[in-house]
Amino acid sequence: MDGMREREQHEYLDERHEHDEPAVEAKLHQGPMDLAAVRAKLQSKTDKQYWRTLEELAGDPEFEELLHREFPRQAPSEWDDSVDRRDFLKLMAASLAFAGLSGCGRTPEQYVVPYVKQPDGMTLGKPQFYATVMPFGADAIGLLVESHEGRPTKIEGNPDHPSSLGATNAFAQASVLNLYDPDRARTVTKFGEIQTWSSFVESAQAIAAAMKGSNGEGFRILTGIITSPTLAEQIQSLLTLFPKAKWHQWEPAVGDGAREGAKLAFGSYLNTVYRPEKADVILSLDSDFLGSGPGHIRYAREFSRRRNLDQFAMADRISSEMSRLYVVEPTPSVTGATADHRLPLRASEVELFARALAAKLGLGGSGALSPAAEKWLDAVAKDLQKHKGASLVVAGEHQPAEVHALAHAINAALANVGATLYYTQPVEERPVNHLESLRELCADIDAGKVETLLILGVNPVYTAPYDFHFASKLRFDEKSKSKKVRTVIHVSSHFDETSELSDWHVAESHYLETWGDARAFDGTLSVIQPLIAPLYHTHSAREVLAAFGDKPGVSDYDVLREHLKAGNPSAELEKPWRKTLNDGLVAGSAFAPVNAALKFSAASLPAAKSTPADEIEFIFRPDPCVYDGRFANNGWLQELPKPVTKLTWDNAALISPKTAEKLELAHSVAWRGGEHGKVYSNVIDILLSNSKVTAAAWRVPGQADGVVVLPLGYGRKKAGYTGTNKGFNAYAVRTSDTLWTASASSSAIKKTGEDYPLACTQYHFNMEGRQILATGTLEQYRKNPNFANEHAELPPKELSLYKGEAEFPYDRDKWAMAIDLNKCNGCNACVVACQSENNIPVVGKDQVMRGREMHWIRIDRYYEKLKPTVGDAAAYDEALDNPPTFFQPVPCQQCENAPCEQVCPVGATAHSAEGLNDMTYNRCIGTRYCSNNCPYKVRRFNFLRFQDWETPQLKLLRNPEVTVRSRGVMEKCTYCVQRINNARIESEKANAPIQDGAIVTACEQACPTEAIVFGNANDKNSRVAKLKAQQRNYSLLGELNARPRTTYLAAVRNPNPELESA
């Protein structure tokens, strides 16, 4: 309730509301100051005195104590991991006290979504959608954001936007939780003391004035990748204002390989845009282009379009229809798992492979490979050549420049340029070598050349290579009693590791709170449109930059409009502006292809250096859930099982099964939770480049032998309640010259003898010879399209206790879902989308380890070709060295003969007229009999009170159309019944049947590969009916005669016969 008030205060746009204080009677008392006391002090002043009062207050040590107290919360107790939010409520109230500040703080003059009186065209209870983009690395993901009465609640993809085509990824889906993150920084602080924005502006101006004379000598700006023209423009204008100032960039999880590779190949920075849809044969050189990196959502969509299988097509057409994907990679990625052929190679050997391939294609140079890899290479080379102009070679983000250059050369040689990929001017506003840029900054700091350092968004103290010792550069030096940098200003959403060592910290606004722009992977200029006024006293990087400029206080809104106006000289601005806001992008702003002349020959490359065979290779990769650490405090992403390992809440040192055997690293399944929850794994010390981390070791089938993956983004020391001290910090052993690949003798790995419990939601990856996930090859499929149903022993209809009884007709609408296993790449977008849409709680590591996570849709990961065991997944099997990997999303199957319903004693779960398997939460008494009797185990139970009922921000997050479940009731996927009912209401109003595609479930909407299709099975022309008509279509566990409404289309791989024969 406090949160609501607070929000309104920000939303109301006229001054009157600003000093509206909470109706809590204040009482002053001794002892540590509490909020009542704060309010009392505030109330005792008149409006005019207001913020002076606060300034005084801010000086008050008790008050500081109150604000800087780390929220004391209960340690997770034996049986209950829930968070004690009481102290939290206090903090909420604290920000209330500051609401008074808005009197002197700025108020946005632009009207956005919020309203005081109900505006026209808005009906209470009906959500509105606004187009915006989420800037992410060298990409901007086009979004439509659902807003309920001014609260952004759900992220959807923007169908008109080239980077998303209506889909999203897990990060975008979860980003809305970041907005409401209770741990966000809320005000400007100096040395940790509350300051007002205006005092910051004053000192910024003071600094600027002081620099005037010295032309900005010693003024440095550090940012991540910037694809925003306006932001770049602002920085540029500062750099012109202060010619001696410098702009550095550091993006920890994006390699320089792509940039430098382009430079190496073409002599200048260029951006590469791929067209997987046009490629018949694709070779990925350690590139996870379907799962991460710029444009991956788009690429996944395009790739999946070539995975359509239409059984009625002629055999030859199928082959032309279905593309073939080869992946060479050290550790299984989403892309690798989807591949038709996958070759595990150590990261350093990928370059050798690229060189060898180039050589094979007659581009000169050479690369030594193992015989097996050699053979593989031959087949791939042949295949590529066979498909000149329709093939594609993609180099990985984390591969060195040489590999990228070779990829460019190979693509050129295969005449792919312009066909399956094209080059454009860089999307980054100022492409530089980030490592060198950061190195230069550090050198200058050491040389004492830096006076003022402005850090925008990034967190170098945590992410910089440890040999740069960035922290020491900011920290006050006890010996010399001095600081290397006089003033450090840090702008970030959370008060993090870097903020701690900064003088000033400006709380940064979330992208849903600010105006801005960003370029997508193909250069499309997109507009960031805020959906809500800042929840707290946060500011955008643009405002901070403006504070140093000649016209401080200029609003992002104006800056943006100015820029666009400059963009199109036509005097008339409003119309295109409105259109832009509506579309979320500037029409036709995508970069035109440039033809780049190749100035590179493979032969000219210096000899490659690769990890000695006897050494262990350590590689660094961004974590698939928390990325470089920026999402560490996001509960949804923390609890999201990682696509391949299915680990949650932790990262682990990933090791191949064989290597694990060699190093005698083992797992043991815990008795509580077991395979579906808790696995103890050996803890190892990793001594690397004169530093050490302690990590839990985890076996990953399909990983290259002798490779240890150290996922980045964990081990945060100051991320917030959720993210602090989870996992281990891989940055601690990451140096500037081993940025992506390090190597050491196997003695670098020492068993500590301890075991660490990891929360793994699916430890058992062996199908035990059951047809759970039907797979086949294109060859098989051509011979027998019905292979998936051949061995299913479907019981005859008359085999029933109620023979002759009339069955339920479901004659109006018959909702059903088809999931194409041929397309799903396990990217997890659907899982988070479902969590966001359906108010699914986060339960915490302890409960996940007890097998109690709540996801309504889970993605099962199975390996093929494994010998059936008696369920002992730990047993080593050489097939684990490189097993075919498949993903299977499992939501409620909505069975027509639902086994769960028959056993419910109170009829809390029953069928609707449209055949939905409905849960009636308020009737459920929680016997859990339904879950026991559910063969798919898709039901989820509120064993404790998992839902957070107190934290005000999280209340804003909830979807008002979905019940918030409490303790003791069963819940499960509902096919997003709220969306069905919305469509139903519309259709009744229009008195027309519901059109196919009018209802899109959250998971379907988020899916980049269109693997999930929902619709009316009675409508013969619906997409779902067509899919179910395919012979590939099969029911999971059909022999149980539960008649699931959700069915699967068997996965079909398109292997190269040449390699199959082996």
């Binding site: 069975c895 003969n897 639902a898 319903e901 069928h911």
Partner: protein
């Protein structure tokens, strides 16, 4: 005499062995007394016959109870599942009669047992905290090791001396007058 009669409930004789009791009862009934009752610490074999007791109503009441429970039980389930609140439960027909059998069975048993017990108590007019026979001091032994026969004053043939004489003839241990208040 008439006055007296109105004050006494009957005359009670006490025996030490069940055989004596049966013998006495036979004698008394042979003498034409009908309002006679015997009291024993445990059910004495042959006593009922001697008393000329016929089949009783308890089994019949029990049968009714069982029928009520069973028939009522089944149709209640049918009504609840098919008429009152029809729901599609796991695609099973509304009248999934095989699934209703167990409850029907249990309710049959329940009805029958309740009828049997409460029928028995009702017919025995129990609970009945007070009864004239309790006025007899030695009657406490009726619940441990003694056997009693009581010829009630309501019997048309009842005459104090006659009854006393008759009882003496069957070697009674004690004779007591049972007062009626």
């Amino acid at each position: 005499m008439h006055l007296q009669r109105s004050h006494i409930y009957g005359v009670m004789g006490e025996f030490g062995e069940p055989e004596e009791l049966i013998h006495a009862v036979e004698k008394i009934r042979a003498a034409g007394y009908r309002r006679v009752n015997a009291y024993s610490p445990f059910p004495v074999e042959g006593l009922s016959e001697a008393m000329g007791l016929k089949r009783n109503m308890v089994p019949f009441i029990c049968l009714l109870g069982g029928l009520a429970g069973g028939v009522g039980g089944f149709f209640f389930q049918y009504w609840a599942a098919a008429i009152a609140y029809p729901m599609n439960v796991g695609g099973r027909p509304l009248n999934s009669w095989p699934a209703f059998i167990p409850v029907t069975f249990e309710l049959t048993i329940l009805g029958a047992s309740l009828a049997a017990v409460f029928g028995m108590l009702a017919l025995n007019k129990l609970p009945q905290p007070h009864h004239p026979v309790f006025n007899v001091h030695r009657f406490t032994h009726a619940s441990s090791d003694r056997f009693f026969v009581c010829i009630e004053a309501k019997d048309p043939k009842f005459h104090l001396e006659e009854v006393a004489r008759l009882l003496q003839n069957v070697h009674v241990h004690h004779i007591t007058e049972v007062s009626d208040d």
